[in-house]
């Protein structure tokens, strides 16, 4: 009897020992159809493809996987965009081999043809008058173009929200630049890197003074002088604001404020007049995601030098294996690890470039990070709160149909900011205007 009692107590304690229980980790990381987080993601418009991937009418179709669903995208003869089930309804051939012609994608096997809504419009073996084609329809999702990005919404049609209003996709195209890269890990460990402000002083310390898209900002000196910032986390309507505060001169604080908009948008606080950047972390399946990286300036065109630097993989962008969106430095070549550069302090981890510094470490956690073994500290509260909000929102959606934060386009109109404030002023008051996206108004940055 005493033995049983002791055992029970031990089991309970074991449960408590774990930071995040396995069920919770599964809950947060799985996004296939029918999972709670999968349903949550299916409330939002998400970046699906770059416009450049479907450059013109009747161009080659593109295969893609999102939230564990294999799809094919194409632009028809009239320029209309379609995102449909990848596999032909006849005998399951991939429509990636399809002929994109005369307003539809025709399967090369037996000639069945589908339009951008997935509707079958031709079954050559059957007389057109039979109406057979009308009874066949592939699943499809809306695909819209905005800011150089093709966005999709994969939820129930009756709940489709208004179009996204993130500032980077509403400014003129010469003010914005977007790339994407394949990340071979679960989306959550990637996204958590975007709100984990305390890693910057370590992992990326070499890049502040050398990267053309970071260097020269007056604020950089505060980063260098004060390696242990103090943090404040507050909820915003759409997600979180994570403020990192460092001492500055004259009774001022240097604040860097990172917004997170649910479920997977993060903004990096700006530096000087450099373009502002940030990410989307979009699940492909449970073991991989797309890391989208935007750079934009609210009030001016990007310079040739800036665009060239972005194309060359500087800042948060990367260089690619030619013809793909897979980074040139990847797990197959050990991320081009350079121990000499690490030893000499040119890079902290031995991997070059901010994007791959993050990706290499996040992929090293394994396809899905085992969060039951973590030992979080007080300064990890941004991550703790993001997980908490995701879990709570997914639950409220599942149980009561509550529309989660970040669906309303008003929630997208938030800006990252870097500013000096008197020590007795709260950033949520002092930076109130700085954190709003405003047409024609420059970002707040030092």
């Amino acid at each position: 009897m005493p033995l049983t009692l002791r055992k029970r107590a031990g089991e309970r304690r074991k449960g408590r020992m774990f930071m995040l229980r396995k069920e919770q980790n599964d809950y947060l990381t799985q996004t296939d159809p029918g999972t709670p987080m999968g349903d949550l993601f299916r409330c939002y418009w998400m970046p699906a493809l770059l416009s450049e991937e479907l450059p013109e009418a009747d161009c080659p179709p593109v295969r893609l996987k999102l939230l564990g669903e294999r799809l094919v995208a194409f632009r028809d003869s009239e320029g209309k965009l379609g995102l449909i089930d990848e596999f032909c309804a006849h005998r399951g051939v991939s429509l990636w081999f399809g002929r994109n012609e005369e307003c539809g994608l025709r399967c090369p096997y037996h000639g069945w043809k589908f339009d951008v809504t997935g509707q079958c419009v031709d079954v050559p073996s059957e007389p057109a008058e039979s109406g057979y084609a009308k009874k066949v329809k592939l699943k499809s999702y809306p695909l819209i173009e905005k800011g150089g990005v093709l966005w999709t919404y994969m939820g129930p049609p009756e709940k489709q929200p208004p179009e996204p209003e993130y500032e980077f996709c509403t400014v003129p195209l010469n003010q914005t630049f977007m790339t994407k890269r394949l990340q071979e890990s679960n989306w959550l460990q990637a996204m958590e890197g975007g709100i984990d402000s305390s890693h910057v002083s370590f992992l990326h310390r070499g890049d502040l003074s050398t990267d053309p898209l970071f260097k020269g900002a007056a604020g950089n000196k505060y980063n260098m002088q004060d390696l242990s910032p103090v943090f404040e986390v507050t909820e915003s309507d759409g997600g979180l604001l994570i403020g990192a505060r460092r001492n500055a001169e004259d009774d001022q604080y240097y604040w860097r404020i990172t917004p997170w908009v649910m479920p997977c948008y993060t903004g990096v606080p700006p530096r000087g007049d450099h373009p502002m950047h940030g990410h989307f972390w979009v699940p492909i399946d449970d073991h991989s995601c797309w890391a989208w990286s935007y750079d934009y300036h609210p009030t001016r065109a990007l310079t040739d030098h800036e665009v060239d630097s972005m194309k060359a993989g500087k800042g948060i962008h990367v260089r690619y294996v030619p013809g793909t969106y897979r980074p040139l430095a990847n797990k197959d070549n050990d991320y081009l690890m350079d121990r000499e550069a690490q030893k000499a302090g040119r890079t902290f981890s031995g991997v070059e470039g901010i994007g791959m510094q993050d990706a290499s470490l996040q992929e090293s956690m394994g396809p899905i990070c085992d969060r039951t073994k973590e030992n979080l500290v007080g300064t990890d509260n941004g991550i703790i709160m993001a997980r908490h909000r995701l879990m709570r929102s997914a639950k409220a959606l599942a149980e009561k149909g509550v529309i989660p934060p970040g669906v309303d386009p008003e929630h997208h109109k938030v800006r990252q900011a870097a500013l000096l404030l008197p020590r007795d002023v709260q950033y949520k008051d002092g930076a109130k205007e700085a954190l709003k996206a405003k047409k024609g108004v420059r970002q707040t940055s030092v």
């Binding site: 020992m17 930071m19 986390v233 073991h287 991320y335 396809p367 979080l376 908490h388 007795d424």
Partner: protein, 171 residues
Amino acid sequence: MQSESARVTTAQEAKYRVQYPNSQRRAVKVIALDPPSAQMIDELAKKEWNGATFFRALSFASDAEPGKTNAGLNAWLNDLAGRALDLVSEVASSDFIVVVSAAGEDARSVSVIADACTAHHKTLVALVVPGEGASDADVSASMSHLRPYARMLVIAHDADYITAMLTALRA
């Protein structure tokens, strides 16, 4: 030949992560700074924790004057049974300190706790819980009061968050 990074980052290889407890139990001490937070903490304390302990700052629990810091660092805490405890030794034997403040309430006793944390090199995390009816001004007042002392300051709109945070910290 497959690179080492490619080989070791598969789900298959993830199974070989060594299984053992990679940290020892930490003594997290949670201190309520005012009566409404003390009520919350009373509830929290009923749950099962991994060594976390819960206290009230004595500035409101006894006849000590609120925020009267020159009362010294002695006997500045009450445990939930009402016993007076020596703040300095409680802080000294902790791994880190969490203070909880209800927005708009008197949070001045944080300064004494922070002094003890500084003296013993302990991190102080401050949680502000707005509660029902708290105004923006209340939250702001609490924040500006706590800001100088906390390494991490969190506004927790949702009362569940304290539990979530303590669990995440293995408290």
